[in-house]
Symmetry: C6
Subunit: 269 residues, 6 copies
């Protein structure tokens, strides 16, 4: 089993529209190898941002979606039984620390404490990763950086990063792009024209006003791209918005009706 | 152990009565390989719909009934001990992603978070499945599509898809077919005549009015087919409706009496 | 390890007294291979009924008492380590589906969700059992039928079959037999005469009036047979009723006194 | 590893003082191989009774103290890895069923459901024990009997035998022996004279009056024997009663003072 | 792996100051091999007492600190995989029972039920330890004795020995030694003079008055020895008492101030 | 796998600014090998202090971040399967005790009881570590010392050291350094000049006043160093303070605004 770190390099420039100084700030943080938190709502582009950064830096990017059943071994590695006995297999975090990738832990607040605590010695000036089970002490590769993300409008009281974890990181806030930028993104990614993209963005903007008033989240850029692609494929705007935007986002019939009203307002009855 | 993806091909056309534009919409979503949610009550035909679609597309269909004890490994695969040491065995999701099947996760809200989070990288434009334990990064086969289903009248507050999962999917709503279509289905599937089928559909329709008022769900199409088949086998309509419809659906004596009343109303005392 | 399905054949006709049309109805359900639920109180004869049916059909009967610690692997099978590596061993459900037995899951509401969900694809017209861990798709033997049982007066709100499970089954209600039939059963099974059997049945009938008023369940037919057998062995009716009926059924001293009163009423002081 | 059932034979007659017809009743139950429940407070002699019965019947006695961490495998057996692969090892219940011992499950209400449900097919007229993991169906040896015990003043609402379990058993109530018998036992077992034994029994009797009023249980016969043995060894009655009776039974200083008062009342200040 | 029981012999006489007849009483209990409970607050010398007893009896002493994650296997032993397959390794309790050591389970109320129940057959006149997983029945060595300890002011309602466990034991109460004895101990163990030892004991005595009024426990003898040793090493009494007594015992600033006041009262400002 | 204890030696003198007599007091505690607790808020320098002490003593330092999923085996060691069967691998605590390192358990209150109880025999005058699973009794190396840390303003009622654990330790309180010292640290570690360092310290000081009034913790020294390093890299003070101080520390928009106000107060608008 070859653990080839270059498989995690991003070959083609990902499409990313900067919305402020976030690229420059991140570059400065990377120069200091400061561990970073990306905060922002679902589907606003945090993962795409990291792909863009990794491409720009020409560093491999190892991404993990955190979840509450993930164990420390899922990050760090484990012994697996082989014909010659147990053989150690690096986990993704170890791989990144050993060979100098950016390790991106998506939705880190979902992880259990043993996952978040395991990253502590990598996030202070020691920059080490003790593989207790293997008895090895890894000094992180100079190129290694740790990045985590979460959605601040989201996590419950029981799910939050420990203060002693937070204080090890710098942080960047992400938001949905403004209307013009988001419209550009929808055009570029779905292939629809400007006018349809603008209408979709308008509907999303209305939906985001319902956040916290029946909707947990507004319609994301990703959903707009889905709807646009269906429209370009010949599906009617109403059917496309239903399939890609209003039906996935909620099961509440009243809220669906309100969202359908936004669709009618933009695309006619 | 040959993991022959073609074993999952559906040879014969499944009997399916479209109730709206759902087939065309799904075909458009499949052309975009958009991940899809099928929403609708128990027994309304979501699974049959997927079998029909898979047959129409001539793609293998791998179905999994989700449950809260299912682990990420049950989806993705695991190492099993062999004479030559540990050997990797693809799980059903990996199989589908690797060889280009449609993977259908039935009642996905039953699954734990680690199951639903594992599908994230397969449901955005990366279309990858990282096999962390194996150190392999699968790029999904161009034919692969992920479809999940759930019953929106059902799930509790503690069981819902995360918003960051929902926003990755398109969605189609399913309902019980209207009386004429449902009657056709009952005739076709159970072998009873039109009049008996219409009476059974009438009883089901009454029962669906009790939903939320003592019945968790109304009588499903599947139960009508069961009852019809018993009647064709010579069982009296009252006994057949009791065995196949009113006794399985509830333990509440009052509700059973109400349902028996519907049976009497249609089939006489 | 020979998994000989014929070991599950029932050689001798079990003693069973039909109490209505339940045998004919079940036979019709079996002809359709309809999955069946048997509902009824503890000790009223559901297990005996299944043994009688299996003997009548000359099909092997594989019985499992469900419990909340039972895993899907306990039903479906697992890999076990052998000299040649891991070897698959069919679980009881797999055995039944593969070789055409009736699989009877006693007290199915005790099982966890992963057990009840595992049976879904066996209970619709697919009649398949995916052995995910083995990568095998079993098409059920034409003789295979699935039967489950539970006690409807029993299960708590947290323990109930999911609606999507119930709707896959036909159902038969079971009750304690009426006095004459029950008296016959007690004579036949315990060897006591008609008069003693009738008295025991009378006591049981009184006890069933206390159900829900201090007694969780009334005295079952099985307990009457126990008491009768002790009386035939020379134990006094009072001591026999104490040992076999009133002491096992409750720890409440007041209820025991009431039950003792019933014994005295029938057998004298 | 020889699993020699005869190691469980009781060679010497255990000292047991019958307190009623319990020996004869049990013998009748054994002739019917009726599963039995022994009910009674801690230390009143249930275990000793079973040892006496097993000696009288000249049958091996396999005793297990149940606890909530005991698994079905702890009862039934498991595969263990050996040089030749996995080898099956019978658990104590399997051993008893296979070779015809009495299996005594002490404090059965402590066990989890999977333990108590596993005994069901052994406790009806099937008298079988399915070893699902091994694919073997054991027909119980004709000498096999199952006996369980619990303390009815003890178990919480969450810990009780299921009604469907209770109804499979006969039951015998056990109490502390009356003063004369208990005094005899204390003399015989501890070696003290009649007068000291009578005083110890008097103290115990007083303590049992505090049951439910500060003491969970009264002082048991076993504790009296301990105290008697210390006195015979030369320890003063006050010190012996403190060490063996009043200090172990409670940590409550007020209750200890009350118990010390009983000691002073019988043995002087 | 040599399991040499003599490694557990205590070579040199431990320093122990008897505070009553506890040594003689324990010796009498040992002659009867009566299982013993040592009750008393943290740091009052229970462990030291057992070391002294073991040295006096010249028996090996095997000590285990119980905790809620300790399993029955941690006590009894387990199979470990070896080049020749699985090999049994005795746990500490088995070791003690087999070869005749005193087994001391410290803070036994912390253990789970399966741990405490496992000791039952060793604590009545059977004196056996069934190794169910190995199929072996150990008859305890004549020298074996079981001793457990707990802190009665400590355990919560959910953590207490079961009554059926307590009644198998004799018990001895332990308290902090009186001032003169404690002062002697502090001199002997820390090397400070009488006056400083007396002052430290005075501070501890004050702190014990705060027990239950802000302090969970008073300052223990062990802490006084720590403080004395620091003072002898040249640290000022205030700094030594802070480091070794008042800072470890509480995080409450008000209580720390009260304790500092006691220090000032004895050692001046 | 070489377990080379010298890999844990700290080669270069870590930068540490003493804030009182803590170094001398710790040295005295080390001379007595007294186990030590370091108490203090996140990021105030406890870990750095231990690195400085270890360098000064020229002893290896083995650090572990405790977490609630850490098992006793993670500390003590385990058997791992090898070509020759199972081979024992020392855990970090065993390594430290065997070869004479300082073992530092960071945030020890996060650990489960079995972790904290395992250290008991190492923290009294026995100074032993029983490896129960290996059957080995380690007498700690004369150089070994155990140090633990926690944040007293932090732990919940459910997470606290047991009193019987606390009483085995000496303790030192740590606080944030005073302004002049902290300013020196920020200059030295980040490379900014005195004036900027003083401003950053001023902002931190303001933020610490919000502790308990919206902020769980104030801004730590580590965050100031991060911000200083960004400023030296050319990032504007506002952007640097946002990225490194105010965004990571809280998600609350009102608190962020208050913190931004502090930044403006020191660096201008």
């Amino acid at each position: 089993m070859i653990e080839n770190i270059n498989a995690y390099l991003i070959k083609d420039e990902p499409y990313y529209q900067p919305t402020g100084g976030e690229v420059d700030l991140f570059m400065a943080a990377y120069r200091l190898r400061m561990p970073m938190i990306l905060k922002g709502p679902t589907g606003c582009g945090k993962t795409r941002f990291m792909e863009y950064i990794a491409w720009k830096l020409q560093k491999p990017l190892i991404t993990l979606a955190c979840n509450e059943d993930m164990t420390a071994s899922d990050l760090v590695g484990r012994f697996l039984l082989d014909a010659d006995g147990t053989v150690w297999h690096d986990g993704p975090l170890t791989l990144a620390a050993r060979y100098g990738a950016i390790c991106y832990l998506d939705e880190v607040v979902e992880a259990r404490q043993d996952t978040t605590v395991i990253i502590h010695p990598l996030t202070d000036d020691r920059r080490i990763l003790p593989l207790d089970k293997r008895g090895e002490l890894i000094h992180a590769h100079p190129d290694f950086q740790l990045v985590v993300s979460y959605n601040p409008g989201y996590q419950s009281v029981t799910k939050d990063l420990k203060q002693s974890t937070k204080q090890r990181f710098g942080a960047l806030d992400f938001h949905y792009p403004d209307a013009a930028v988001e419209s550009n993104i929808v055009c570029h990614e779905s292939g629809v024209g400007d006018d349809i993209a603008a209408k979709l963005v308008g509907i999303a903007s209305c939906s985001r006003g319902l956040r916290g008033r029946g909707l947990e989240e507004g319609i994301s850029t990703r959903m707009l791209i889905h709807a646009g692609a269906l429209i370009r494929d010949g599906i009617s705007p109403h059917a496309a918005c239903g399939l890609a935007m209003t039906r996935p986002i909620t099961d509440d019939v009243d809220i669906q009706r309100a969202l359908d009203g936004f669709v009618t307002a933009y695309f006619g009855p």
